[in-house]
Assembly symmetry: C2
Homo-oligomer: 211 residues x 2
DNA sequence: CCAGCTATGTGCACTATTTCACAATATCGT
DNA sequence: ACGATATTGTGAAATAGTGCACATAGCTGG
């Protein structure tokens, strides 16, 4: 593809990290920040911050730093969080419910417009956020009619691939998967897998090494 | 440190990923698996699988493959999931509750033995798993008396650093942080940050690029 | 016991990512 | 107007991680 397809994945993830302290700085009315300070807030190297930003343009002022408000706007533009996204979630267990309610998601424009589960006892229940749990048999219909762009999977692992296939086939463009299984997707659909237990295992490895 | 400190972090994370399909294969009574098949199940390159495992020993049999049961045992030994760990969780909102109940964690030997919140209306409530929510003022005391090794943070971001400091100071050896903020730790304490919204932002970036 | 087959373990080249180091450039005080 | 100062943007060096390709070694059948 074009120039932008060469941008390293770690850079994209760091841009999202940079936006977190920038939001606080904006609330604090701090007008300007240097790469060094921002780097320290995010636990990275200052040159890294500058290089990450330089992939997308020259946002700073030499000898001064970056305007907090402008930089945040630019990062949001890059990450496409300057607009709303419509999502659905499949699997309304504890984790699914927690994610559907999550303030952090709402604040960034990720709107859940449908929630699905295959357990008949859950179907029809209303979540605190106002969503009604729909049967998974309606996934295809609702993804299309509500123009859902991103699907979130919080089912048990053995069902995850099946629902991923169904979501893709119904037209979602990306999937965020919390089931501890590696999901295969077509090229037209981007996937991110999140497995908390992997993080704990990483921690356990390091602790055990020291002991 | 020793030889093991040179092992790449991605290798450790992949070892955890390898263990997922191995568990299913064990249930399926598949006795042996090749690096090629395991790699396909995990979406990585076969040479990568072999190299990752080779850091820790020679677990395979040339011309045959890896014994599923033995390999799983070895990986669990490496990741120190062949034992139980005691954890606590701070911040009993939706996400905190979901994590405390999570089957995936329990199954791998991560036992939550205390849950904390600073909201007086939540304190004293009993969770489905049997834990009683304690006030955060008891963190120091309970971390010590229950010998809690790992702390999980699911508070709002502005409180996260404070609780992390308190947990560290009380003696936890690692922290898993779900608050969208970069937490600073001392060398004696290992940290992993998990921020779902970052993953969504990564997905949004890719989708928006295509459109 | 040996030939043929298969899949591991690994040196090496390649690719990706990070960090350094400094030239370029904006601001400020005189 | 200009020197002193601060901080960016960036080529080049260093570091880290991946994947190829093949020698090595175990198993099977004759």
């Amino acid at each position: 593809m074009n120039k932008e397809s060469k941008i390293p994945a770690p850079t994209i993830e760091r841009l999202a990290h940079y936006s977190r302290p920038l939001e606080s700085l904006l609330d604090n009315e701090t007008p300007v920040i240097s790469s060094e300070k921002l780097a320290r807030l995010c636990g990275v190297n200052p040159a890294q911050v500058r290089k990450d930003l330089a992939y997308f343009g020259e946002f700073g002022v030499r000898g001064v730093g970056y305007d907090v408000r402008d930089l945040l706007v630019e990062i949001k533009k890059i990450l496409a969080t300057d607009r709303d996204w419509t999502l659905c979630i499949v699997g309304m267990g504890n984790l699914g419910s927690a994610i559907a309610e999550n303030e952090n998601f709402k604040k960034r424009g990720y709107k859940f417009v449908a929630a699905f589960d295959s357990d008949p006892t859950k179907i029809g229940r209303t979540l605190p956020c106002g969503l009604i749990i729909e049967p998974t048999s309606r996934i295809r219909e609702l993804v299309k009619s509500l123009k859902i762009e991103i699907g979130v999977i919080t089912t048990r692992p053995h069902e995850a691939q099946r629902f991923a296939d169904l979501l893709m086939d119904s037209g979602v463009k990306a999937i965020l998967n919390f089931a501890p299984i590696q999901i295969r997707t077509l090229d037209c659909c981007k996937i991110e897998n999140v497995d908390f237990a992997v993080k704990l295992e990483h921690l356990a490895y390091h602790i055990a090494k020291i002991l």
